[in-house]
């Protein structure tokens, strides 16, 4: 609703859209004066630079202020124009509200060029830059550790979680989301999503190609919340997911993949998998050893790489060379199935020959499924599901695909229902960070198996903690193409414990109401919350990333507590404190420890 009116004399405009309250000063330039709880900002909304010349601030002419209020739709827009040297600029700033807590901010610009020769135009948005400088502003995945903002959340997809600014109490919050536009198109949010996550945001300018018609430059969603930043995440999640067709995830035929907590990577060429004397694969031994990890849910058989390319044999022919042809695989699959273990083989897209196609590989796969009864196809180096393979699932509805890379784009996410969450870089001193994987929280129905193939020692410890912190399964990969990097007995026990709780509390870990990086009461603690829409029971994964032991209040709980218990991690003293009808979780947490706590609330 328009709260106040626009007058030429005042040249100022104050309005409310849903829960967004704005004040814009139009005196000399277009200034944002107030934005909800952020008062007296006085930031220019935009600055235009044409061929390295700044357009002077006092030259804008306000042409029109337009408003339209409807029951379901409110819009307010400000049209402005500008003569600069021999060029003419026209622009529009609009705020559109269709939902109470979500407002679109749209910035459009056009230019009529002298002699029709376009100029290089750069745009800066001082109000965003200055929001970014605010101490309560957190870029996506950031937290404030008391001294500085640090990154504790990661994502790797073409959706960008909102940056959030909160009041000093952390209650009133605003989230700013730039759509990620991929593939990139001229002007539209060009590079803004990358920019807002970069260290050099203050220096960021976007280049735009202007035509005579108004073109969208920025489409930013503003989320408003009076229930903290967690609510901003939920609004973004809900709004983002609305654009997706997630039916495939809810097809009951392929639901087994959701419980693929532990996948064993069976590298064929080693003592772990192969008996050199008996010339046969040690599948029973692998399954037996898998029990130390809590039992494998699937096995990925791997023998094509690094052997492919020695001669012209393709990836399917290499199965024929195994002892007794395909029958070896069939026998292994049967043994796996008798232990309720699913079986994957890999697809190597880089091996497609000039006389082959994805369709021909799909036919080979179909034949292979019929001959061996395998359950899944692992897409090596890929993060999408080719259409040719998609058709396989119509014939074999319970057949699953899992990719090495997490899908990044909408169609990939809609069709490929499982993937690895792979981290690590052998070329550098890679350290396994314990942080939140936002993809996992945005699409909890998409199971991710965490893997860092080269990690050893303390990095393997950290990897297990990272899996626990994110409530996700793992890939048990110990033979890295001929380099033996096993888990220790203690690490196996921890993975076993993790698998057991993932299984036991599946509906909460993979529930639709989980939120990463919720507010904690300690600067050195981060926490993820797992729950389903019923909300009666929640699991909190809590990580002390500081270098000192922490004892005291960790979390302020949303409801009265009925029961609580630690379900994972080194046993620590946890308590619930009630003070003036508010419940707090207290814990005695060592540095670098991850614990998981299950709380049942009174509803």
């Amino acid at each position: 609703m328009m709260k106040n009116k626009f007058t030429d004399k005042k040249k100022s405009i104050d309005f409310s859209l849903g829960n967004l309250n704005l004040s814009i000063d139009l005196n000399k330039n277009i200034f944002l004066k107030e934005l909800n709880f952020i008062k007296n900002i006085n930031n220019e909304i935009f600055v235009i630079r044409a061929e390295n010349k700044l357009i002077p601030k006092n030259k804008y002419k306000i042409e029109k202020v337009f408003k339209n209020t409807d029951v379901n739709f409110t819009v307010i827009s400000i049209d402005f124009s500008q003569n600069f040297e021999n060029d003419f600029f026209k622009g529009r700033i609009s705020f559109v509200q269709k939902k109470k807590n979500i407002i679109d901010f749209i910035f459009q610009l056009s230019a009529r060029w002298h002699k029709d020769i376009p100029k290089k135009v750069l745009l800066k948005f001082p109000f965003i830059i200055n929001l970014h400088k605010n101490k309560n502003f957190l870029k996506p995945g950031d937290i404030f550790d008391g001294k500085k903002r640090i990154k504790k959340g990661v994502w790797n997809l073409h959706e960008y979680p909102p940056s959030i600014i909160s009041d000093n109490l952390g209650i009133e919050s605003l989230g700013f989301e730039f759509y990620d536009q991929f593939p990139w198109q001229a002007n539209y949010n060009l590079g803004m999503s990358e920019a807002i996550s970069s260290e050099n945001f203050e220096k960021f300018e976007t280049e735009v190609q202007l035509t005579q018609e108004l073109t969208d430059i920025i489409l930013m969603k503003i989320y408003t919340s009076s229930k903290g930043r967690e609510k901003i995440f939920s609004l973004w999640k809900e709004n983002t997911r609305k654009r997706y067709d997630l039916r495939k995830y809810h097809d009951s035929n392929n639901r087994w993949i959701k419980k693929n907590y532990l996948q064993h990577f069976m590298f064929a060429y080693g003592e772990e998998a192969f008996d050199y004397k008996k010339i046969q694969f040690k599948i029973n031994q692998i399954i037996k050893e898998g029990k130390q990890f809590g039992g494998y849910d699937s096995i990925l058989f791997w023998h094509q790489y690094p052997r492919l390319g020695l001669d012209e044999s393709n990836q399917w022919q290499l199965y024929k060379y195994l002892p007794k042809n395909y029958k070896t695989i069939k026998k292994i699959v049967d043994i796996c199935h008798s232990h309720n273990i699913k079986f994957f083989i890999p697809f190597k897209p880089w091996d497609i020959r000039s006389n082959e196609s994805l369709d021909s590989h799909a036919k080979s796969l179909e034949k292979f499924i019929k001959e061996t009864n395998i359950d899944g196809f692992f897409l090596d180096t890929m993060s999408s599901l080719p259409e040719s393979f998609l058709k396989i699932q119509k014939k074999f509805p319970s057949f699953e695909f899992c990719s090495e890379g997490t899908p990044r784009e909408q169609r990939q996410i809609e069709t490929l229902t499982s993937s690895w969450d792979q981290i690590g870089d052998i070329r550098r001193n890679f350290k396994v960070d314990i942080n939140s994987n936002f993809f996992r929280f945005l699409f909890p129905e998409h199971p991710l198996n965490l893997v860092s193939r080269w990690s050893v020692g303390s990095d393997k410890d950290a990897l297990i903690k990272r899996a626990a912190f994110n409530g996700m399964g793992m890939v048990i990969w110990q033979d890295i193409f001929g380099c033996w990097l096993p888990f220790s007995i203690e690490q196996k026990k921890k993975i076993k414990s993790l698998k057991n709780i993932l299984k036991k509390y599946h509906k909460y870990f993979y529930g639709d109401n989980s939120i990463p990086l919720i507010k904690t009461l300690s600067k050195k603690i981060i926490c993820n919350e797992f729950s389903n829409s019923q909300g009666k029971q929640k699991i909190y994964s809590i990580y002390n990333f500081g270098s000192n032991k922490i004892y005291g209040r960790i979390l302020k709980l949303p409801l009265a507590v009925m029961e609580f218990k630690q379900i994972y991690g080194k046993k620590v003293n946890i308590q619930i404190e009630k003070k003036q009808n508010t419940f707090y979780l207290l814990a005695n947490l060592d540095a670098n420890d991850v614990i998981l706590v299950n709380i049942i609330f009174k509803i």
Partner: protein, 230 residues
């Protein structure tokens, strides 16, 4: 096609500094790649890789049958193919032949010396790659005497390209068994994740991870023999 007999070339004992350089993509090649001093005893070495004709003769005379014949001589050598290097032989098949002719497979160190010689040449014929001196990026195997101009310092032919060659021994790092192949082959697969094909430098070996014999044999993998001086 006219057949010919493989000649033996004498290699005089010497010492040289062994050093191997290669990428393994991922995983490791857990052998000592040098530089280290290596002693080479007096040796005789086959001028060419063992041919189909020679291997055929061996089969005829000995009745050799591998314990596991999967892919054994899958190319079905006939008279037209007699002068091509024998392929689809495992290391065991190669050793059986070598024993029969009174020889053995060269060690990885010996092979490198035979190819590179005391001048540490990068390629059998010199230090600059010349695709005309080897079967480097072709469609098929060629007769072993096709690239005689590409012979090594001691007169051995086909040491780069045409077919990979087995060297002696199975290496065991405690968890894996592997053999080292030398020389590269005619086949050059298109992707960087494939085995690096084509002709390979004298100081390059490829780690073939051992599995069953069907997997240990390939269309590009043959051998030549050396003979200890009695």
């Amino acid at each position: 096609m006219e057949s010919f007999l493989n000649k033996k070339i004498f290699i005089e004992s010497n010492e040289y500094t062994y050093r191997v350089e290669h990428l393994t993509l991922e995983g490791t090649c857990s052998t000592d790649h040098g530089p280290r001093n290596v002693k080479i005893k007096n040796l005789l070495v086959d001028k060419y890789p063992v041919t189909n004709q020679q291997y055929y003769f061996f089969l005829k005379k000995t009745g050799y049958q591998p314990r596991d014949s999967q892919r054994f001589l899958e190319h079905k050598p006939n008279k037209k193919l007699f002068n091509l290097p024998v392929v689809f032989v495992s290391q065991n098949d190669a050793i059986a032949y070598a024993k029969w002719v009174g020889g053995r497979l060269p060690t990885d160190e010996e092979w490198q010396y035979i190819a590179a010689g005391p001048k540490y040449l990068d390629w059998p014929w010199g230090n600059k790659f010349n695709p005309l001196l080897c079967n480097h990026d072709g469609n098929k195997l060629e007769p072993v005497n096709t690239h005689r101009k590409g012979e090594s310092w001691c007169g051995c032919v086909d040491m780069a390209g045409n077919c990979w060659e087995w060297t002696a021994g199975i290496h065991d790092d405690g968890n894996h068994q592997f053999a080292l192949l030398r020389g590269g082959s005619y086949f050059y697969a298109h992707d960087h994740w494939h085995v690096g094909g084509g002709a390979r430098k004298n100081n390059y070996h490829w780690k073939l991870q051992i599995l069953n014999e069907g997997m240990n044999r390939a269309a590009t993998l043959g051998f030549r023999c050396v003979y200890d001086e009695k």
